[in-house]
């Protein structure tokens, strides 16, 4: 049982730390497309967090809306805005800032 709680805590710690880190990176990223991908990853991790909080129904909604549809909508919005893919062909090879 001892190992079980320890493992559970480390899982939760990774999820929590990952959420904070992803949120920060998504907000701070100058490249909007990168921010969208980070947001999708954030949604996935958030769904896992809801699962750990024993709220599978909320996790279901988060998986469908947060990770699935919002990502697609944000990409569509990004294209509609006419912002060129910062990481498209013209900047293919240079190492960009992290």
């Amino acid at each position: 049982m001892e190992g079980m709680t320890w493992l559970g805590w480390s899982f939760d710690a990774f999820v929590g730390a990952g959420l904070l880190w992803l949120a920060w990176r998504a907000l701070a990223s100058p490249d909007l497309f990168k921010a969208v991908v980070l947001f999708v990853a954030f949604g996935l991790l958030l769904a896992l967090a809801w699962v750990r909080l024993e709220a599978p129904d909320v996790a279901l909604a988060e998986a469908a809306i947060g990770a699935g549809l919002t990502g697609a909508l944000l990409i569509a919005a990004l294209t509609r805005l006419g912002i060129s893919m910062a990481s498209g062909r013209h900047r293919n090879n240079n190492k960009e800032e992290l």
Binding site: G18, K34, A41, L48, V51, A64, R80
Partner: protein, 92 residues
């Protein structure tokens, strides 16, 4: 068995974290998208493990939704953002 499920869930989560590096580095938008795809598949696996761990059928439904919607973002990306120049100009 229970230990193994949780251990592997943690392992897959770390795997996901390693894949994060690809999102940050790119270099092309497609590489970032691929990493997101990896997250989708890994998340399905983690959810299935957690479902077994907590003996909850509802969690398998969450995994099912993940699997269903895994492709949506990627297809939106290919259709909208990364299609050739002729598609990026249209304002549908």
């Amino acid at each position: 068995m229970q230990h193994l499920y949780l251990l592997l869930a943690v392992f897959l989560l770390l795997n996901l974290g390693a894949g994060m590096w690809r999102v940050l580095r790119g270099p092309t938008a497609a590489d970032r998208m691929l990493a997101a795809q990896l997250f989708g598949t890994t998340a399905v696996a983690v959810l299935l493990l957690l479902a077994e761990l907590e003996n909850s059928v509802a969690l398998r439904d969450v995994a099912l939704v993940f699997a269903l919607l895994a492709a949506v973002t990627a297809i939106a990306f290919v259709r909208r953002a990364w299609a050739g120049t002729e598609d990026s100009n249209d304002t549908r």
